[in-house]
Symmetry: C2
Subunit: 373 residues, 2 copies
């Protein structure tokens, strides 16, 4: 259980992504009703649009988007390194061009904290450098050193006392760098610790091995957050290794592409055999979509590119994940987590790794894409 100024958050918790102050296609009323306890938003996106000053003037992020529950904001580090153009990194910060209009900007650790304090999230993140999975040791080592230096500056520039600041462990797939990063950040003393730089294209065995070693080095009495993870199988993998917090755009992004979760695995609603399929997307699902509409209706809406399609699929996928998390928390409370995981994974067919990696690239037709965390 996490305690925040906007209420308690049971753990392990999955946070839907609302990078641009909206969980795509849903109202706050809706994502709350689906079981959302905390959402993730993003300093980088909100800095570019509508601008931090606008949100500050309108009373902060909670009021701006009309969500009174807990919010976690990412620092912008990952987005600067994955979305922005023409980056120049130096020890001071990052100079980059906006992915929207090419305008030039600078973000430093101090500015990231200033932005996040103005937005007013409950949990804020240190400004980090996230290297690519394919970068070699020296580059990753340098990024880790910079991330550590910036972490110190984030801690010392922080002024608000009602926000929890989390550090982000980097180090790519290099176990030695991960260990160094975990011990360095732990020594600085953050309110929580995130594992960053994973789920960015590396094989799942690598992800799991890094998570397992890193978690063991983080303080047990602080929340441990695995950034960018959100498929059912990956949630189980993370939780079984001790992760408390997850965020991912995956459930909402695949929904907009017509992918939906069932207890047997992911399906594609556009497939022709759904054309006249009566019955819900997933038997036994308690979401609004499944209680009111047939798979055939969803198939029709997707074929017609109807706006309602994206909503109904998003509601289903988010509810699927939220309900799974509720069941996981119950199983942990009942000390039956491992048997619950086994029985779930016995019938759930994870998406093939090759398909998964190719789908990551496709994105959606919607502009204003979510970052992956």
């Amino acid at each position: 259980m996490l305690s925040t100024p906007h209420g308690a958050v049971p753990t392990p918790i999955f946070s839907p992504v609302g990078s641009q102050a909206t969980v795509k296609s849903l109202t706050p009323q809706e994502f709350f009703a689906l079981g959302t306890k905390m959402i993730l938003s993003n300093a980088y996106h909100l800095y570019l649009r509508p601008g931090i000053k606008v949100i500050e003037k309108l009373g902060g992020l909670h009021r701006f988007m009309s969500w009174s529950g807990p919010i976690l904001t990412d620092s912008g580090g990952y987005q600067v390194f994955s979305l922005a153009h023409l980056r120049e990194v130096n020890d001071d910060g990052v100079r980059f061009r906006s992915h929207i209009d090419g305008s030039e900007h600078i973000i430093t650790p101090e500015l990231s904290i200033e932005f996040q304090e103005a937005l007013g999230a409950d949990i804020i993140m240190a400004f980090d450098e996230c290297p690519a999975y394919t970068d070699d040791y020296n580059i990753v080592q340098e990024a880790v050193a910079r991330t550590h230096h910036w972490a110190e500056r984030c801690l010392s520039s922080k002024q608000r006392t009602d926000q929890a600041l989390y550090g982000i462990v980097q180090g790519g797939a290099f176990m030695e760098l991960r260990r160094h990063s975990a011990s360095f950040l732990t020594a600085l003393g953050f309110a929580g610790y995130a594992i960053g730089g994973l789920s960015i294209g590396e094989p799942k065995e690598v992800t799991n091995a890094i998570v397992e070693e890193t978690v063991a080095l983080l303080p047990e009495d602080k929340p441990r957050y695995l950034m960018g993870v959100g498929s059912p199988e990956d949630l189980f993998a993370g939780i079984s290794r001790g992760i408390d917090i997850f965020d991912s755009a995956l459930p909402t992004r695949i929904a907009r592409n017509g992918g939906f979760f069932t207890r047997y695995g992911r399906k594609i609603i556009r497939n022709a055999h759904f054309k006249d399929r009566d019955g819900p997307l997933d038997e036994g699902c308690d979401c609004y979509t499944c209680k009111n509409f047939s798979a055939a209706y969803l198939h029709h809406l997707f074929r017609c590119d109807e706006l309602l399609a994206y909503r109904l699929a998003t509601m289903h996928n988010l509810r699927f994940i939220m309900r799974l998390m509720e069941e996981i928390r119950t199983s942990i409370f009942n000390e039956s987590f491992l048997s619950f995981m086994e029985s779930f994974l016995a019938s759930y067919q994870p998406t093939d790794e090759a398909v998964r990696l190719s789908q990551r690239q496709k994105g959606t037709k919607w502009r204003g894409k979510e970052s992956h965390h």
Copy 2:
């Protein structure tokens, strides 16, 4: 008050458009909560996608789209003449190519009724030929004659007794043809009468003059339906001349383009002065959007092309019209309609005619456009 198998409908009534078995972006739960009493759907669109047989197999249109209130379906006549390609009209029916994939199809009056009986709407429409506003007298005269012939065939092919079949008066801007059409159809004896072929680009004075003359020739004890009309000023114009039923995609279509109704007229949310505007779209509006979000938030969502933008704007515009209709019905009941109309129109600035006509052409970026009725 209209009585239908799915409940009573107070008049005058405005029906939102759900051509493809969805009122764009909204759930049935939502458009009901906004005050919707009846929706319009469309045999042409549903015949092309998902196909009449699919909807029939899934239990009819009400069940397919999960809406248990009254539905009116248009016959497909207008759509065949405004959307489809390579039309060949003869006395038997129309051969055309789908506006979606170019495939060839035929609709006859008998097929239109068969489709509408399979869909199962409460009110169904005769299959008509709708000439363009610019067509000359001889063409319109021929279209009227064919519409009359088809009206007889619709009446005689109708089998279900639980659906009300309405005739559609045509005749373009030619008063003589309108008079002829009204008296011919009235003699056939329909459950209700629509005025078609208006609101398709002609000046408003023409619309109003035709409506005024035509209404006077239709039986007072049957519902009178003006197709394709839905701006506040046009609703007043129609109601003051005796119209009972309206439908239009206008409120929902302009919403998706960022146009919204206020008591002072239509505004454009993308305008820069809304960037940091606190307060709702329209002071005093009781819709979910206005109660929960600032104009600045809507401005942000539209700038980011966020899906939630279209929903929130649609909810506002539909609620604006539904509330106006509620107030109009109350004023009629209280015998104060004319003074209510005067006071509303004293502060409401109708959209400039030139802007209105140019906006008609623009449409939206969403495929699967609504037809205008």
